[in-house]
Assembly symmetry: C2
Homo-oligomer: 218 residues x 2
Amino acid sequence: MPKERGGAKRLPETAITRLSIYRRALERLAAGHTYVSSARLSAITGFTAAQIRRDLAHFGQFGVPGTGYEVRALQMQLSRILGAGRSWRVALVGVGSLGSALLAYRAFQEQGFRVVAAFDNDLVKVGKRWEGIEIEHASRISGLCRELGVEIGVVTVPARAAQEAVSSLVAGGVKAILNFAPHRVEVPEGVRLRSVDLSVEMEALAFHLLHDPPVPRR
Amino acid sequence: MPKERGGAKRLPETAITRLSIYRRALERLAAGHTYVSSARLSAITGFTAAQIRRDLAHFGQFGVPGTGYEVRALQMQLSRILGAGRSWRVALVGVGSLGSALLAYRAFQEQGFRVVAAFDNDLVKVGKRWEGIEIEHASRISGLCRELGVEIGVVTVPARAAQEAVSSLVAGGVKAILNFAPHRVEVPEGVRLRSVDLSVEMEALAFHLLHDPPVPRR
DNA sequence: TAGATTGTTAATCGATTAACAATC
DNA sequence: TAGATTGTTAATCGATTAACAATC
């Protein structure tokens, strides 16, 4: 199997989140600047200028040597690449405290992530409305996701329910899932999974508190 | 400056979150198993057996060739290394929907992350009680964090307020911060920062939906 | 032209994987 | 002992950084 597709080298997996951060930086720059250099973007985002140029070069020659990148043009390119501006249909599985918070999260809606369905196992919650969405029973996940054309699933259920929630989404044709449940889940090839594990994040911080040497004052 | 400290090679930054996941797996294994091999841990966690052995070997020789790792003993070692079982004092800055969800998040409390203070800029919220904690005004962050001996800060404020929130925590002696604000923040040397950016996560998923080739059915 | 900055190549770095001698 | 599995070394892989010729 070839490691490269087409002529250009593959975009490193880690670069994708950087693109999103560049895009956000450009949004703010667009107000006051026509051009921006990789050096300036570096100062704003904290990534090195070399890395920024390299990331951007993956998608063609956007920059002008001696001048930099045209802010508007680059912003539009990145938006196109990331699918910003589009509207994405999102399903939420698990309407506990975290799930409710995400349902209410303005930034999501504003960025085009439109929650079109919400599911829960708890019969007390099913049928209730939440942020304008009626909560459906978890047994309806795959059917409704297919019917509504859900593209992205967000899973905020307890650990023990995570795999079943994910499997139902996959059965419903969902090809991208963001998992907040503190448990490993498996997805078939062709489905993208990203996981955010808050307990692990906290424990990683605790590790550093215990093991990093204190920095002497200067 | 030397690249290594002591004799052993440095633990890769990326290994720290794996340790936390191993620990969690062991917790569940402890019920029914005395020993566990790296191969079995691999099947459970999804990391390769070689990687697991390598990660664990950083902290000494826990395993028994031919037999595997003693579950209880390894569990205790990892707990000690990660500071699990300890109680950590946490401050929450920003009691919006996401912040409230985290305040209510049982798993946090159960894992020893004890929210001892909550702050907000909104005078309407200040003085109210939430999950047994009185919400204080953001101007009191550094003073109260120092007084209460807060060790970890969790920041769930809007982007524009992120840097100030973080700076106040740092001023209050907080050495580890988990930032959910969709904005870059800077911390001085000696302070650990981890960031979770939900918009970036979603946009990364959108990127894959747009660019990954569909997987042909077999 | 002189100065600035890109896009890209080569060098470096860090982390993962494979392989296997040592060990129970 | 035979079989299994560790801990570690060497090879591989992937991503980042430095450097600079090409370009505006």
